[in-house]
């Protein structure tokens, strides 16, 4: 299985001009990006940015209104795709009157030929979930664990998680993250994890998709995105940004007294007396979230291939 899923160059998600409408307007508009297979991708954005909409389109629960999204090179929810994708919705829907055992049995019954009972049961056992307890009586954390067990048991090639850790205490969150990473490493599962808890992403994700106002703002390898940016600190007077920044893209800049701190995308050497360093992931995300007008940046691997082919 591993050699089938971990082929460099394979694509987990690819959107071209993707748009999805809800009642009040567009949840996603003109989104184009690519997530290569085998990555752990953070899907980040403020509330209402369209993260959940993107994931439910990918899971085949709703259709795109514009453009197209390919999932594992097929149509979302298509006959060859649905069995290979696991999705965990934000509210973790489970049948409340089912016992833990019934819920796992459902996984087996509805995923014939794919179900990995051992993997699902291991996760449930590690959480000491009583097999005959009803789901409705479980705590939020226990329900999340059971829902994750169901998602893992399907042995997905692509695991879509919508705010999976939001109702977990820090200890369980740490444990679940570890389980997730083991899963990803052992089976080369691609994981797309939507979150607005920035701290839980650092060190976990190697790919990033930042959406805001329904558009893609940043997409690509975390490493490449970080090295494309610099935090610049130095002495500067006056309100206008220094002239030496004109050659670069300024994402954010803030002056405290005589000190200026800026996040820029350098287009070459930065002239002047500046201390520069690579930003942390959190700094990078915050700077882009604070400045919705900053131009978007897609690394080469995040450019959709079909658009390049068409162009």
């Amino acid at each position: 299985m591993t050699d089938l899923t971990f082929l460099p160059g394979r694509t987990a998600l690819e959107a071209v001009g993707l748009g999805a409408r809800h009642r009040r307007g567009w949840a996603l508009r003109d989104c184009s990006f690519r997530v290569p297979a085998g990555r752990v991708c953070a899907l980040v954005g403020p509330n209402g940015a369209g993260k959940s909409t993107l994931l439910s389109v990918a899971a085949g629960l709703r259709r795109a209104d514009e453009g197209a999204l390919a999932v594992l090179d097929g149509a979302p929810g298509g006959p060859g795709v649905r069995p290979r994708v696991s999705y965990l919705a934000q509210e973790k829907p489970l049948y409340p009157y089912f016992t833990v055992e019934d819920t796992l049995r459902m996984g087996r019954e509805l995923n014939p030929g794919r179900w990995d009972a051992a993997a699902a049961e291991r996760l449930v056992k590690e959480g000491n979930l009583p097999p005959h307890a009803r789901v409705g009586q479980l705590s939020g954390g226990q329900r999340t664990r059971l829902a994750l067990a169901l998602a893992f048991g399907k042995r997905p090639e692509l695991l879509l998680l919508d705010e999976p850790m939001s109702d977990l205490d820090p200890l369980v969150r740490h444990e679940m993250t570890a389980a997730l990473m083991t899963e990803a490493a052992e089976n080369a599962t691609t994981i797309v994890l939507a979150s607005h808890v920035l701290a839980e992403l650092e060190g976990v994700c190697d790919y990033l998709l930042l959406v805001g106002d329904g558009r893609v703002r940043l997409a690509g390898e975390v490493e490449d995105l970080l090295s494309a940016h610099r935090v610049v600190v130095g002495r500067h007077e006056g309100g206008a940004p220094p002239r030496s920044f004109a050659a670069h893209t300024v994402i954010s800049s803030r002056t405290t007294g005589r000190q200026l701190t800026a996040m820029i995308r350098p287009e070459g050497p930065i002239a002047g007396q500046w201390e520069t360093e690579e930003p942390s992931l959190e700094d990078l995300l915050l700077a882009h979230l604070r400045n919705p007008g900053a131009p978007s940046l897609l690394t080469p691997s995040a450019e959709p291939r079909s658009r390049k082919a068409a162009a």
């Binding site: 629960l61 649905r82 999705y87 089912f98 509805l110 995923n111 169901l150």
Partner: protein
């Protein structure tokens, strides 16, 4: 149970597990009602024979006793059969379909390895099989018990009063109820709202069928110079009127109270009365005609529900 080769698998298992309470309640209820109907049949036959009610001159007291003891019992059993379609429709609309959409659990089912269309098919097929097996048994046993009583002993249970309780109509009605329930559930997406919607929808269907029923197969017509009576044997006399000299039919002509029938004819320049009726022998052709319409409704509603489930959800 899982060791049985006949144990349900896949979506069938899921639907049965989700409605486990209804499955056991339904089986227990069916068992009780069927046993009780069988007992009732033999009690009816026994009472008829004991008091010689079919004889040339049954005692008025014995006949009144018989009607008081058995009329309501038979009628209430019949109501169970008659309202079976509505109960089935409401269960499908509310708990089976709308609740999943309302609570979000459809996301769980649809992101396993089954498509929404197959999920819905299971929600249609499992109750359909239950109705075809259990509903048919119930309707057959009720019809068998009902037919044990000569019609003149229980005039309230004449075939055209009991039409919705007999033969294939309630079974086909329950199948139509499944389809309409699924449509209501998918459209309304709220448990109680969907149940209310299908209650109204099925009620309208029942009303329309009731109006249509006398014309489902051609009735027999009798024309007489004298005004025909509406009472008599077990024929269903559903329309009376006059035929004008021009050949036009006027149903239930308005001649005012106390106007002699002969004058009534003259007032409308008519010369004959007509009576449209179905003899008791029309029961089964009418039943099958109505069942055919209900089956068509079931098929159309089922197809509509499958189309709805393929439509994008917000």
């Amino acid at each position: 149970m899982s060791s049985l080769t006949l144990a349900p698998r896949g979506l069938t298992w899921l639907v049965l597990r989700q409605r486990r309470g209804a499955v056991w309640t339904g089986l227990a209820g069916l068992f009780v009602v069927v046993v009780q109907l069988v007992i009732l049949r033999f009690a009816l036959l026994d009472a008829v024979e004991r008091h010689d009610l079919t004889g040339p001159d049954p005692s008025a007291g014995a006949l009144a006793d018989f009607r008081a003891s058995y009329g309501d019992v038979l009628h209430y059993n019949g109501l169970l059969v008659q309202y079976l379609p509505l109960v089935v429709a409401m269960i499908v609309a509310g708990p089976m379909v709308a609740r999943e959409l309302e609570s979000g659990t459809y996301k769980l089912a649809w992101t396993q390895s089954v498509t929404p269309a197959r999920w819905l098919l299971a929600k249609l097929a499992v109750p359909a099989v239950a109705v075809l097996a259990g509903g048919s048994l119930l309707s057959a046993v009720y019809t068998w018990t009902w037919s044990a009583v000569p019609h003149e002993l229980l005039p309230g249970q004449l075939w055209y009063h009991s039409f919705d309780m007999l033969g294939p109509a309630p079974v086909a009605g329950a199948l139509a109820g499944i389809g309409l329930g699924a449509v209501a559930g998918l459209l309304v997406r709220r448990t109680t709202g969907a149940m209310a919607a299908v209650l109204v929808g099925y009620g309208l269907l029942g009303f329309a069928l009731g109006r249509l029923r006398p014309r489902l197969i051609p009735p027999w017509t009798e024309t007489t110079p004298e005004m025909p009576g509406l009472a008599g044997d077990d024929a269903w006399r559903f329309e009376r009127g006059i035929i004008t000299r021009a050949g036009e039919r006027l149903a239930e002509p308005d001649c005012g109270i106390g106007v002699a029938p002969a004058r009534c004819l003259a007032e409308h320049d008519a010369d004959r009365w007509y009576l449209d009726y179905h003899p008791a022998s029309h029961l089964w052709p009418l039943e099958w005609a109505e069942a055919g319409i209900l089956l068509a409704v079931a098929a159309l509603a089922g197809a509509a529900a499958l189309r709805l489930v393929r439509r994008p959800l917000p």
